[in-house]
């Protein structure tokens, strides 16, 4: 069995938010998180999907 691996950095967001972002082709690291610790909430994602913040690199 595999022991607990060391943690690596990633965007903080719940599984549903991650899933919805992926389904909509949104890079979560571009969505500013307003939750604790910069967590991207469902509200953050919905706001971003309505009017994506001006981001430097269009995908």
């Amino acid at each position: 069995q595999v022991p607990l691996p060391e943690v690596s950095g990633h965007v903080l967001a719940s599984p549903a938010v991650r899933r919805i972002a992926r389904e909509n082709g949104i890079d979560l690291s571009k969505v500013g998180g307003t939750g604790e610790g910069g967590r991207v909430t469902l509200d953050d994602l919905e706001r971003y999907m309505k009017s994506p913040a001006p981001s430097p690199a269009p995908s």
Partner: protein, 436 residues
């Protein structure tokens, strides 16, 4: 022409079949043995039923004031067990059929990526899902032994049992047999039982095993077995153990031979079939899921794989992407862990949890790992009902919650889950019932 042909109806295969059927895909699910695979018939399900029985007996035997006289007709119990399993596997088959899945009995033989033979019959599918699972490691010279199937089908509790291999299966079944009255010896090659599991959790199990009179021999390599009046297990260095029955649980290997897999010329990853994050193999439209596709060899990982493969077959771009894979060991106390370790951690003893004491349990620990921001990255529990408690922590890890989120959530009294709350409290304050 099927949308997908699935080989093997364990947790991986049947879940993939149901998931595809739910989305109107035409699926063939092929099984040569019993629907439900190793898990439902010879693994997870029967082992937990046996452990439940053993726990009740042992709880009463240890409880002051209770005088217990019991006998177990294991043949009758096995009938109950199989009727319970059949209810589950029957349910799975009904579900599959309810979603239009063709359940085909027989051994599958892979002709090529789109053709599979069952006996004389050849069927065609756009996608192929390999979910053939795993089988126990066997070693030449170690004969006359039981594997998981045989031990779970015992018609009596052996007077004595030697267990070769102190991994989770050996420890789970060894503990249960000991509680049911067998004199159990566990022989492990590594320096400790449950290798790979945090020793901080394992030591509680070791303590309990010793209370239960289980003899644990570590760092011992078994050479062979000899059949006499009893079975003799010979170890390197001349030591040996004799027992009425010997259980061999030194690991499991994926089922990759004897069914034409070689015709696909898949890339392998050691003995496992190599898959990418989509659960795709190196051959287009061929997927591999569950035990055959790599570690961890666990049923809920097989379910997860099935979801990913089914999504991709349906044209959704799903990838393996979890932050919290739970591991559960039904030892005494139960061990469960999830997520990953971090720089910071907190600890709370089971002995300070009221609910545990009402169960006459006081051995174990709750550990939570969190980062500098207080965000929970993982947890390790050795506690009563740890198997059920770990999901709150997985949810926290997956959702990026803070230890404070757990600590400020009201947990009902009296529950073991209060131990989780108090452990979380220590990350930003102080637990109520424990002073370091």
């Amino acid at each position: 022409m099927y949308d997908a042909i699935i080989i093997g109806s364990g947790p991986g295969g049947y879940a993939a079949a149901i998931r595809l059927g739910q989305r109107q895909k035409k699926v063939a699910l092929i099984e040569k043995d019993k629907i439900g695979g190793e898990c439902l018939n010879y693994g997870c399900i029967p082992s937990k039923a046996l452990i439940e029985l053993a726990n009740s007996i042992n709880y009463l035997r240890e409880m002051p004031g209770v005088s217990l006289n019991y006998s177990i007709d294991m043949k009758k119990w096995q009938e109950w067990k199989w009727s319970m399993i059949n209810r589950l596997t029957g349910g799975v088959e009904t579900l599959c059929k309810g979603y239009g899945v063709d359940v085909i009995r027989g051994e599958a033989y892979i002709v090529d990526a789109t053709h599979v033979k069952i006996g004389e019959k050849v069927i065609e599918g756009k996608n192929l899902v390999i979910a053939t699972g795993s089988k126990p490691v066997r070693i030449k010279g170690i004969d006359d032994v039981m594997y998981n199937r045989e031990v779970l089908d015992l018609d009596h509790i052996p007077e004595s049992t030697a267990i070769i291999g102190g991994g989770y299966i050996g420890v789970e079944i060894g503990t249960a047999l000991a509680k049911l009255g067998s004199k159990v010896t566990i022989i492990e090659m590594m320096p400790s039982i449950l290798p790979g599991t945090d020793q901080e959790l394992v030591r509680h199990v070791e303590r309990r095993l010793s209370q239960l009179g289980v003899r644990v021999m570590t760092g011992k390599k078994v050479l062979n077995t000899q059949h006499g009046d009893k079975i003799r297990v010979n170890m390197e260095g001349g030591e040996y153990v004799e027992a009425e029955k010997v259980l061999m649980t030194v690991g499991r290997v994926p089922n990759t031979e004897g069914f034409g897999l070689e015709n696909l010329k898949l890339e392998m990853d050691g003995r496992f079939i190599k898959t990418d994050a989509h659960k795709r193999t190196s051959v287009p439209n061929v997927y591999a899921i569950g035990d055959v596709s790599g570690q961890p060899m666990l049923a809920h990982k097989a379910y997860y794989d099935a979801d990913i493969a089914a999504d991709n077959i349906c044209g959704m771009d799903s990838v393996v992407e979890y932050r919290a894979m739970p591991y559960v060991i039904y030892s005494d106390p139960e061990i469960a862990y999830t997520g990953s370790k971090s720089a910071k951690s907190t600890r709370f003893p089971v002995a300070a949890n009221g609910r545990s004491l009402t169960m006459n349990e006081s051995i174990g620990t709750f550990n939570i790992y969190y980062d500098e921001k207080g965000i929970v990255t993982g947890a390790g529990l050795a506690a009563p009902h740890a198997s059920e408690l770990i999901s709150e922590l997985s949810l926290a890890v997956e959702s990026g919650l803070m230890a404070m989120d757990i600590g400020l959530t009201i947990h009902p009294h009296p529950t073991v889950s209060e131990g989780v709350k108090e452990t979380a409290e220590e990350a930003y304050g102080k637990p109520l019932h424990f002073k370091i």
